[in-house]
């Protein structure tokens, strides 16, 4: 469906870098985020959380808390109905424990009180009797036969024969083609290694926050920070037994999500408290709660084996991935398996994945969920194998890169994409040939992500002065409203400044899927372009009426209605403002709409290059230089595309070097704060250079590919390759924290 405009590259405003529509509010402190909302009569909610990693809840006595002056409601699992649809059941149980606390931080009860200090006091008055159970937080330990069992109703799915005993392994998946044994037999060199990664957190700076207001008649409103307010509405309605139509959810400005705000944690609790108290309830997580009780990534245990001929041809690729997804099934191991080898062409590929349950918070998506850890393992082995073959790591990748028509690791044949281009640009970049000093190393790695479309509904309204309002239902996490306005301005032929975009509430548009899967600029952009085309038709029709000529005799060019040809008649072109100004007398308001399940999302590839230096005496890693090469299809607002590349790379740097969930022997999280969960700070980093590659996606009118997720796939591998070169020893565990790097270097010397 690639549009003529894009093919000819004749964009007027696409590709420019204007100020974002929400910009002034964001730099003046006026923008309203989740915790900034106040409703009249509002109470403050707080959640009591389990201090145990695994415990039966024998009883909960809330009487003393309820008796405290200022406490207006106390809720436990007993306040939630049992007949919740299966799809939402785990989500509900993750919000509030039903009979059993499954991880340190699992919600057990909640209170609403007239002040924060009273709510805190009330929490201390709730008496919970726990029967502490043995726990398991390690993915390998959880797979053992004698591991403490989280659920007695989970039997491993995906096996040839359905097992009869329950397990912490909820499923096995397998992908691939060919026969890897045959492939390895044909190889001259084979490298295989085991890898481990720890869980990381999205680390958005804004803790989850919401204000719920639910009337006894089941009509309610909810204000919250989320990546998908329609998802919040549907989930909360299901859990609380409400009609979807009665719950209006408004998405606040959102202070980062990265996948972590694609599900709910506190929203149904706020609504249930509100229903019980008869007043609005605000619930805001503390940072400690964010780390303990929201959705970090999986930790992973992986084995990768790759073989190649002496001429550099990869003959076989095989992997075994075990991902823990926390206390419920649904780690992203399938996506790890599907993406692991997606950058390569080989006749024989096989990945097997296990979805493992442990006593940790339920994993949530984090930017290209499941892919980064697999890429860390695979790209490490690819570089090592290149070294064994005496090949340059970029050359080796260029030789084996998947191209259009090659069978992909996840099944279908690849369509046109920009992987080769990222590799070629990387090879040609001056970064690749810059000199390195002592204890320094350079690493490269590739990464792949699918990108998704999904349900999308948009509206476009033209004002009497010719300015344009557009409404989307996809939350703007990183500046997407600017891109929306650019696309509409391009399509209508009006200046960017004349178009404004809002994220509408759930009662104002059709259902929109979450802002996830790098889909927003793609899907809402596509729907808006089609909304604009819808509006253009109506504008032409109005002009035709005014001119009293047939509708098909009018065309829309450069923001004006014009007679389509010499036979249409002699009329001066009418601008959008002129047609809009006559809307009242020509048939009423002029608007455009589009609803779709957006098809045609294009995959995106990236190659990252990084130089690091390792302190040989302390193992400390310093990132010296970093360059991202990524295919954006078409960069609508290049500054925000660069921003996605840079942000993803830096999150990957954190994941590679310092970020990790640290559990104690007692199964409790040891580092539930930004002090010891060490995300990169400004002084840790160099500038992050970016090269935007534009291989248009034929599935989008302007050629857009999602860009938000791919950028976190290569960094850990690129850094591992760089650090391994600098340290003189292959690093196989994340994070590559100083004690780990120093030990690896010392062990290698010994």
């Amino acid at each position: 469906m690639l549009d003529k405009t894009a093919e000819n590259g004749e964009f007027k405003v696409i590709g420019t870098r204007p100020e974002r529509p929400d910009g002034v509010d964001k730099v003046t402190g006026r923008a309203r985020f989740g915790a900034d909302m106040v409703m009249p009569g509002m109470l403050i909610g707080k959640v009591l959380r389990s201090p145990h990693a695994h415990a039966n809840i024998k009883s909960i006595d809330t009487s003393a808390a309820e008796a405290l002056e200022g406490v207006k409601a106390v809720i436990t699992a007993a306040d939630f109905t049992a007949d919740v649809p299966e799809a939402e059941y785990d989500t509900m149980v993750n919000c509030i424990a039903h009979g059993k606390a499954l991880y340190d931080g699992h919600g057990v009860a909640a209170v609403a009180a007239t002040s924060r200090s009273i709510a805190n006091k009330a929490l201390k008055l709730i008496k919970v009797e726990y029967e502490v159970l043995p726990h398991v937080t390690d993915v390998e330990e959880a797979c053992k036969d004698d591991a403490p069992l989280l659920h007695d109703n989970i039997f491993t799915e995906g096996l040839e024969e359905t097992p009869t005993t329950p397990s912490n392994i909820s499923g096995r998946v397998q992908f691939g083609h060919g026969d890897v044994d045959e492939g390895f037999a044909a190889a001259d060199k084979v490298v295989e290694r085991k890898f481990r990664t720890e869980a990381t957190h999205q680390g958005y700076i804004e803790p989850h926050a919401c204000v719920g207001n639910l009337s006894p008649d089941g009509t309610g409103e909810l204000w919250c920070c989320t990546q998908g307010h329609f998802m919040v509405r549907n989930s909360c309605a299901a859990i609380l037994g409400l009609d979807i139509s009665r719950l209006r959810v408004t998405a606040s400005e959102i202070g980062g999500g990265f996948g972590g705000k694609t599900t709910i944690f506190i929203e149904p609790l706020a609504l249930a408290l509100s229903r019980k108290a008869g007043r609005p309830v605000k619930l805001v997580m503390s940072r400690d709660e964010v780390f303990r009780a929201t959705g970090p990534t999986s930790s992973a245990s992986m084995w990768i084996k790759i073989g190649a001929k002496n001429d550099g041809t990869i003959t076989a690729m095989e992997g075994l991935l075990k991902y823990q997804g926390g206390a419920f099934k649904g780690s992203w191991v399938s996506l790890g398996c599907m993406t692991a080898f997606a950058c390569y062409r080989a006749d024989h590929m096989k990945t097997v994945g296990y979805d493992v349950l442990v006593n940790r918070p339920r994993a949530a998506a984090y930017r290209a969920p499941g892919a980064p850890m697999a890429a860390f393992a695979v790209e490490s082995v690819v570089t090592e194998l290149a070294g064994e073959l005496g090949r340059d790591p970029l050359e080796f990748r260029l030789q084996n890169a998947a191209k259009e028509g090659d069978q992909s690791s996840y099944g279908p044949k690849h369509r046109a994409h920009g992987l080769m281009e990222t590799l070629e640009q990387a090879k040609a970049h001056d970064h690749y040939n810059a000199p390195l000093g002592p204890n320094q190393g350079r690493g490269v790695a590739c990464g792949f992500w699918f990108n998704f479309g999904g349900q999308t509904s948009t509206s476009l309204n033209i004002g009497a002065d010719g300015t344009v309002n557009v409404s989307v239902g996809t939350v703007d996490v990183g500046g997407s409203r600017a891109s929306m306005c650019l696309m509409v301005a391009e399509e209508l032929g009006v200046p960017y400044e004349k178009v404004r975009c809002v994220v509408a509430d759930t009662s104002s548009l059709g259902h929109n899927d979450i802002t996830d899967g790098s889909r927003t600029t793609f899907s809402s952009g596509m729907a808006l372009i089609l909304s604009a085309r819808d509006a253009k038709q109506k504008l032409c029709a109005r002009a035709a009426k005014i001119w009293e000529i047939p509708e098909d005799a009018v065309e829309w060019v450069d923001g004006h209605a014009r007679p389509a040809g010499p036979n249409a008649g002699e009329f001066d072109p009418m601008s959008l403002a002129e047609v809009a100004g006559k809307a009242e007398t020509t048939g009423g308001p002029i608007a455009g709409h589009h609803e779709c399940n957006a098809r045609g999302a294009g995959v995106s590839f990236a190659t990252h290059m990084v130089d690091t230096e390792v302190d040989p005496e302390t193992g400390r890693v310093t990132v010296l230089r970093y360059t991202v090469f990524q295919d954006a299809g078409k960069a609508i607002h290049p500054a925000y595309v660069e921003g996605q590349f840079q942000g993803g790379a830096v999150q990957g740097i954190g994941w590679a070097i310092n970020e990790e969930y640290i559990y104690g022997e007692d199964g409790r999280l040891q580092n539930a704060g930004f002090l010891d969960y060490r995300i990169p700070v400004a002084s840790d980093l160099p500038m992050i250079d970016t090269v935007i590659i534009e291989t248009p996606n034929k599935g989008h009118p302007y050629g857009v590919r999602g860009v938000g997720e791919t950028s976190i796939v290569p960094p850990m591998a690129a850094i591992a390759n760089s650090v391994s070169a600098a340290a003189g020893v292959r690093l196989t565990e994340l994070p590559m924290s100083p004690p780990r790097v120093l030990k690896a270097m010392d062990d290698a010397k010994a």
Partner: protein
């Protein structure tokens, strides 16, 4: 006939078959035909599944056309971050 390729571990729900030929013009017809041939697939198809047609990914898209010479792969439900 459309040749529908299953991902590795889906075979266990389809009598060990790696691919299944069905008569279908749309994804919906394809799902229906698959379920008739291999009832073990029905719960998985119902739980939401992704379909790749000629390398393009479709989620929840019943009426997308499938041609006899289309390359069709079933894939697990995918979600991003």
């Amino acid at each position: 006939m459309v040749k529908v390729n299953l991902w590795g571990s889906l075979k266990s729900a389809a009598s060990g078959r790696a691919s299944i030929d069905v008569e279908a013009q749309t994804i919906r017809q394809m799902f229906r035909a698959l379920g008739e041939q291999e009832p073990g697939l029905v719960p998985i198809l119902d739980s939401g599944i992704t379909v790749a047609i000629d390398g393009q990914i479709y989620r929840d898209d019943w009426f997308k056309e499938v041609d006899d010479d289309s390359e069709v792969y079933l894939l697990p439900r995918m979600e991003g971050g």
